[in-house]
């Protein structure tokens, strides 16, 4: 089976390699096509036309993504790279590219647009044009996040995505939509403000916003420490990890189906993607330093999310808390720093996107029939809605990691990674897997065989619902039985990521040791491994005495931060410094 698929794969690759070499800007096309479509949407009239138009846009977008299938599986670096000058004054670039870490998420994002249009076909009845406008903007921003290789470009998409998502919840949401949408916006924005400060700090430190260039740099431990905190806070809120998760159930419950799907499938992944793309490569020593904390929080998220999900009466809330638990597995896999663990984490990101997205679609479908998301109002579907229950069973099993489904592959990989790093850690994560089975089976049991209230009058899945569920079901089984291709895609990039991580986390020491040789006076303050508070104060006071300009000048002279050679303030005021 897998061999056969691989043959088909190489055939497809051969077909599209022509497009690959002919420098067709695939990523720009994926980025701008929904934007242009959203502008055209202004002139489309009639609700049905708007829906059809957006659906067609989604399908064309899928077609535009086909050249991505010629992704070179043996290459660990960035592919389909596009690089143009953007704001030369600040060295900002329009820099796009994908590697094994991002490509699957890009494909998932592109796949979800038409499915979201389909699942909102009858669910959204008011302000249809604005709704589809928001959907298109969301798609564009989400693609942008996963393909941006310039820090500022990334941040633009990271923040811009909030606006359509806010509107999706605030306008088409449930009764508590105002509270939920504001909470969502404030939480995520507040988290990412310090991230912006970290971006600025990286730029001033190196003179570039280019992420691949930044990955090659080395940073002092003190710098990494603060940069990691600033970035991890933004990502942890987005994931969301345990103490920052409270916005998620509120947002999920109130959001319309398509909003919940986008939240679960893509938005949450941005946080874990941020950990993989920024924290591990840019701040390796700090990542290692904070790993015990992150692992602890992850395990707490898994157990806590599982227990809370067990007690929910609202189906959406239950799935929302299960997301907290599942995303805990992702962060757990990332911070054990083993190949299997990170592979599992990345697979879990994709798989959770597929299964949870599908589960939210199913909840939306039943809500259209019962107008309630309470479990007790939706019981006994097994007899009257067999197709619905079949899909539900499949996705619920995938969600709890049943062998043969995609969830099993990723959870098993994460657990292998965790066990190989620390036996006791693995033992702590096991109850989370059992809890997942408990809450999902409880939900499935009640839905299928509970005492029916009014289920007998409802019709089973129609053609449209089949259409948007079937692709996800196929993916669940395909990734469950033949994950080889997906793993081959992500493996080189992860090997490289971890290899760089292993080599670079020690580099900070080497760099600072040379610093000791150069500046023996600072030896006391610059000891890297122990990070005590009094040292921090000492560094600060030392810095306060020395003028910051002098510090920068000195470093610029050393050639460490070449960009700053032009930034320093000239002492003579009559002639202003040349711009770089």
């Amino acid at each position: 089976m897998a061999d056969f698929l691989f043959m088909v794969w190489s055939k497809i690759q051969a077909e599209f390699s022509i497009m690959h070499t002919s420098t067709f800007p695939v990523l720009s096309a994926l980025l701008f096509f929904p934007l242009i479509a959203s502008a055209v949407l202004f002139f489309v009239r009639g609700e049905k036309n708007i829906r059809t138009f957006t659906l067609v846009v989604g399908i064309i977008q899928l077609g535009l993504a086909l050249p991505l299938l010629s992704f070179d599986l043996n290459h660990a670096g960035f592919q389909f790279v596009e690089l143009k000058s953007w704001v030369p004054a600040w060295n900002m670039q329009y820099y796009l590219g994908v590697d094994g870490i991002s490509i699957l998420m890009v494909l998932l994002t592109v796949l979800l647009l038409p499915l979201c249009v389909l699942c909102s076909w009858s669910y959204i009845g008011t302000r249809v044009k604005e709704f589809h406008f928001c959907l298109l903007l969301m798609t564009s921003a989400c693609v942008g996040i996963f393909v941006a290789l310039d820090f500022v470009l990334f941040y633009i998409f990271w923040e811009a995505m909030l606006i359509p998502m806010y509107l999706l919840i605030a306008v088409w949401g449930g009764p508590e939509k105002r509270y939920a949408s504001i909470k969502f916006f404030l939480y995520t924005l507040a988290g990412s403000t310090l991230f912006l400060a970290a971006i600025v700090a990286f730029f001033i430190h190196t003179g570039t916003f280019s992420i691949p260039d930044l990955m090659a740099g080395t940073y002092s431990f003190r710098f990494q420490f603060w940069a990691f905190i600033a970035m991890a806070l933004a990502f942890a809120i987005k994931v969301p990890m345990f103490p920052f998760h409270t916005w998620l159930p509120a947002a999920h419950v109130e959001a319309p189906t398509a909003g919940s799907v986008l939240l679960a499938s893509i938005l949450l992944k941005m946080g874990t993607y941020g950990f993989l793309r920024f924290c591990l490569p840019l701040t390796p020593s700090a990542s290692e330093y904070f790993a015990p904390l992150m692992i602890t929080i992850s395990i707490v998220s898994i157990i806590y999310g599982g227990f809370v999900a067990l007690g929910q009466q609202d189906m959406k809330k239950l799935i929302a808390y299960s997301s907290v638990a599942h995303m805990g597995f992702v962060t757990l896999g990332i911070f054990v720093f083993t190949v299997r663990g990170v592979e599992g984490a990345l697979m879990q990101m994709v798989n959770h996107g597929i299964t949870t997205g599908a589960l939210f679609m199913l909840v939306g479908a039943i809500y259209e029939r019962s107008h309630s998301r309470e479990i007790k109002d939706n019981m006994g579907l097994g007899k009257y809605l067999p197709a619905y229950m079949g899909f539900f069973g499949l996705f619920a099993l995938a969600s709890l990691g049943f062998p043969g489904t995609n969830g099993f592959v990723s959870e098993a990989l994460v657990l292998i990674g965790v066990f190989s790093s620390n036996y006791w850690l693995g033992a702590l994560a096991i109850p989370g897997v059992m809890l997942a089975a408990a809450y999902m089976l409880r939900l499935g049991l009640k839905l299928a065989w509970g005492q029916p209230t009014s289920a007998r009058t409802w019709s089973d899945l129609n053609m449209r619902e089949w259409t948007y569920l079937a692709p996800l079901a196929v993916l669940v089984i395909y990734l469950g039985l033949g994950p080889g291709l997906a793993l081959k895609t992500i493996n080189p990039s992860i090997e490289k990521l971890l290899h760089d991580f292993e080599t670079r986390k020690g580099q900070v020491v080497a760099v600072e040791q040379t610093n000791h040789a150069l500046q023996p006076v600072e030896q006391e303050e610059r000891r890297p491994s122990v990070f005590a508070e009094h040292e921090e104060r000492a560094v600060k006071s030392e810095k306060a005495q020395q003028s910051p300009v002098k510090l920068l000048e000195a470093s610029a002279v050393q050639g460490k931060w070449p960009y700053l050679a032009g930034l320093e303030k000239k002492s003579g005021i009559m002639t202003r410094g040349e711009l770089p």
């Binding site: 953007w86 704001v87 030369p88 004054a89 600040w90 302000r127 604005e130 500022v152 941040y155 633009i156 998409f157 923040e159 811009a160 909030l162 606006i163 806010y166 509107l167 605030a170 306008v171 939509k177 105002r178 949408s181 504001i182 916006f185 404030l186 924005l189 507040a190 403000t193 310090l194 912006l196 400060a197 600025v200 700090a201 730029f203 001033i204 003028s547 910051p548 300009v549 510090l551 920068l552 700053l564 930034l567 320093e568 303030k569 005021i573 009559m574 002639t575 202003r576 410094g577 711009l579």
Partner: protein, 472 residues
């Protein structure tokens, strides 16, 4: 001294506008009935100023410098003037017989600000500041309704303005006594350390107070909300935006005096931090839209100072760029408010309810403005802020950058509240009728905010040459 009129073209054109309006004002009342051509004249002014963007030279014995910085700000001022005039040309807010006078004062104030952007000598700066302020003193009470409130606002503005001007004059006398010169480029070479020359530093600080008053920076912001609230919406749009540009350009000239680590610079940095935090916190509880924008402008004054305390060419360029962005986003925001308030009353947050169905285009423009004011990408507000943060961090003001980014988290609440009212609340009132050209111009304003946010390069290049201005 050779007087070169070619350096003076934008100002001459503005004098032409003033003269025309003066004739209309003293002539028959019927002459000033239809002023619909005035915005177009102002647009011609923008074109004229744009053509003189490359001029370079000095006038009036070196007291008046025409350079990249002054021309950049003159262009911004003429754009702002054109938008403000277009915004105010709707006749409802001021009595018919006073309309020519109204625009006369607007034009004189803009003229004063143009002079201000070229002033490189303290007395010239002082005079230009007064020209731009005096006409505003007359403008603020000119309102069709709420006469009492607008008179109160006018009196507050005059009294506080007069006190601050006196203080600035006092400071000026100290500077002159200390260094016997009023040319900024000569003052740039002397010591501004508190230990060496406390009198000069005190004088400079007092002189800066006048600028802070114009800028509505923290301890000098108290006039701002009352004046905005009392003045008509159209006047508030002008007062909230253009005079700030004048203050910024003079501060940029003064930045040649400042070095990181100096006492004055440290004071500026602290004032910036306090101003943004205070402005944002107080804005959280405002219901009246103009008061809300007033406190938001207090916060924005703090942001602009980030570039000025950095003092590098990049920092000054970032401050110039941000003030242009500030002008655009605030004028656009006021523009929406003026279109909504057809009878000239003050709007509260609840008046925004259901704007999405009353006028979708106004709602969209308002949303763009609100997100630009927060500093969210992909709007110009984000880019401007990013440049400021970069330049401040490069000069070692890490703490200030952290304060600034944390302020975004505070600010988002009240700006988002505007969007929330416009998009998620249901309308109670009738749809708003707006004409085709109004819609087009509004769309252009919003598009320019988005464009400056996505491709800021070309405009920032101009700001960069402005930031590298060369003192004579």
């Amino acid at each position: 001294m050779i007087f070169r009129p070619d350096l003076f073209v934008p100002e001459l054109f503005q004098i032409g506008i003033i003269a025309t309006l003066f004739i209309l004002a003293v002539g028959k009342p019927s002459w000033s009935r239809n002023l619909i051509w005035l915005p177009w004249l102002a647009v011609v002014g923008v074109v004229v100023t744009a053509f003189s963007l490359g001029s370079n030279g000095t006038l009036f014995y070196g007291a008046y410098s025409v350079d990249a910085l002054s021309q950049f700000f003159k262009l911004a001022i003429s754009i702002g003037f054109a938008i403000a005039v277009y915004n105010a040309v709707d006749p409802s807010h001021v009595e018919e017989e006073k309309r020519a006078d109204y625009f006369l004062f607007l034009a004189i104030s803009a003229f004063g600000l143009m002079l201000l952007s070229s002033g490189v000598e303290l007395i010239t700066i002082y005079l230009a500041l007064e020209i731009s302020s005096y006409s505003l003193y007359a403008l603020i009470p000119l309102r069709n309704r709420d006469k009492q409130q607008s008179a109160e606002a006018g009196i507050k503005y005059i009294i506080f303005g007069a006190v601050v001007t006196a203080v600035a004059m006092y400071g000026l006398s100290y500077i002159m006594a200390a260094y016997h010169t009023t040319y900024i480029f000569e003052l740039a070479h002397v010591s501004w350390s508190l230990d060496h020359y406390p009198m000069a530093v005190l004088g400079l600080t007092l002189f800066l107070c006048a600028l802070f008053y114009k800028l509505a920076l923290f301890p000098f912001h108290f006039w701002c909300p009352d004046v905005y609230q009392g003045a008509s919406n159209e006047t508030a749009a002008f007062v909230a935006t253009l005079p700030k540009l004048g203050a910024v350009v003079v501060l940029i000239r003064f930045a040649t005096l400042l070095e990181p680590g100096m006492h004055v610079t440290t004071i500026l940095a602290v004032l910036a931090a306090v101003s943004m935090t205070f402005g944002n916190l107080v804005a959280l509880v405002q219901k009246d839209l103009k008061r809300l924008l007033a406190y938001s402008s207090v916060a924005h004054a703090g942001y602009v100072l980030l570039g000025i305390v950095a003092g590098t060419p990049e920092g000054l360029a970032a401050a110039s760029f941000y003030s242009l962005v500030y002008l655009l986003m605030n004028l656009t925001c006021f523009w929406v408010i003026c279109r909504m308030s057809t009878d000239g009353r003050n709007l509260v947050l609840n008046d925004l309810n259901g704007l999405y169905s009353r006028s979708p285009i106004l709602a969209f423009i308002l949303a763009v403005c609100a997100f630009a004011l927060v500093g969210l990408p992909p709007t110009a507000g984000f880019m401007g802020k990013l440049f400021l943060l970069n330049s401040a961090w490069a000069q070692g003001y890490e703490w200030l950058v952290v304060v600034a980014v944390l302020n975004t988290a505070i600010a988002i609440y009240y700006y988002l509240n505007m969007v929330r009212h416009a998009y998620t609340m249901e309308p109670k009132e009738e749809p708003i009728q707006i004409s085709g050209p109004t819609m087009v111009w509004g769309g252009i304003f919003a598009a320019s905010l988005l464009l400056l946010g996505t491709v800021p390069g070309p405009v920032f290049k101009f700001a960069q040459t402005a930031g590298q201005f060369f003192m004579p």
